[in-house]
Symmetry: C2
Subunit: 260 residues, 2 copies
Amino acid sequence: MKIVSWNINSVRFRIAIVEQFLREAEPDVLCLQETKVIDADFPFAMFRSLGYDHIVIHGQRMHHGVATLSRVPIVADDRFDWQANAEARHVGVRLPNGVRLENVYVPAGGDVPDREVNPKFGQKLDFVARMIDWSRGLDMPTILTGDFNIAPLPSDVWSHKALLKTVSHTPIEVEALDQLQASNDWVDLGRHFHPAPARLHTWWSYRSPDWTVNDRGRRLDHMWATADVAKTATAHTVFEACRSWLSPSDHVPIMTEFDF
Amino acid sequence: MKIVSWNINSVRFRIAIVEQFLREAEPDVLCLQETKVIDADFPFAMFRSLGYDHIVIHGQRMHHGVATLSRVPIVADDRFDWQANAEARHVGVRLPNGVRLENVYVPAGGDVPDREVNPKFGQKLDFVARMIDWSRGLDMPTILTGDFNIAPLPSDVWSHKALLKTVSHTPIEVEALDQLQASNDWVDLGRHFHPAPARLHTWWSYRSPDWTVNDRGRRLDHMWATADVAKTATAHTVFEACRSWLSPSDHVPIMTEFDF
DNA sequence: GGTGTAGAGG
DNA sequence: CCTCTACACC
């Protein structure tokens, strides 16, 4: 079972490269974030044409929006509002073996890492705090994946020093993500298969004509699993090449293979 | 001497097909309307690379804007404000033989053909009225070309009956254009070479997935010359095929060949 | 239907 | 840098 997470930055605008990726990587399940489309306008046709007939979406107008698409049967499960503002940032499904798959898009958090000056930063921390509450009570085999918008380890960013005051890598965010991981027996599958300080970036800003020149990447996208599920994982891949495809997302897909 | 007029609907967005056209038709002079670019951002490079080194532009932000580009020497001449509102809708040049070439973009005139309800319609009629004043005093060999936004003859539109109340083909606009033509010894070179009711449309709305299906064209673009110049004209061509090029303008180029 | 603008959000 | 929305204008 191959499970992918990809912040696609508009699934309609990106439909061609999503198709290209699905044909090449052939995942069983695809978790998308930032679909930026209401459910009525979701581009079902391409996915169905490739056999992804099981589609669970939680969209909204303009921003955010998540979707989980599968060629094996999945069942819609929960939809948490971890930001308590009705933004479409989570959708959960059950896989055929009963494992829960939680697809999440953590808020970016604005520019200034200060709750007072920048309310978006506070909302991001609150979002993770509510994820921690949920995680503590969790007692089922679960995969938690998506765009967490936090790069926890020094080797998860192109320069630990340069980014200590940059939202996504500030100590307070890293501490929050560490607490989330400690709140259950979560395994960070990316680092499980590619221990730090291996290169494992999943995002490069658009604000550079050529992302490969300075190569200022960050690991914002993650695939976690509870220990019972994690021990069935056999591989984890970051599809860095997708960042150079035509009209790319600023994020690349990550994929974990499970032995079930 | 081959002279072309083309409403290009953004010269920057359309730069590829302009280049394609110049390579295929090889005009000596190109009059563009709706360049939609300020002079500082005009895409000079492509034109210069093809030998169009003589460039006289009258641009503005956002809307309108005209440009005359030539591979034979031209000299900037007048810039009339026939709408008395500082919109960039005209630029005049002198050709090497002294003939004046007036490149004009007549206002579209809005939707409702009523001066009271729709001020844009009044501005269009006022614009033509000022052209008539100018034309009456004209005593030099002159070519007047551009997007006139009026289709004067019944055969200049896909349905005379259906368009009698549609701006561009209303009797009051046709009457204004007739007066303009009568105000000097103007020859309508399109109809000179392709007498009515020959097909001679130059514009098809974007509001149809396939312009060829209903083929609801109009002749909005014109090339006129005073009689002395007109008698040196040898051919007139409408490049209808350009309407099917990739990412086309809604107007196609028209070209007159002169024996000078 | 298509183009330009502006601002929000990333 | 890139996407979305909304609007003006054609």
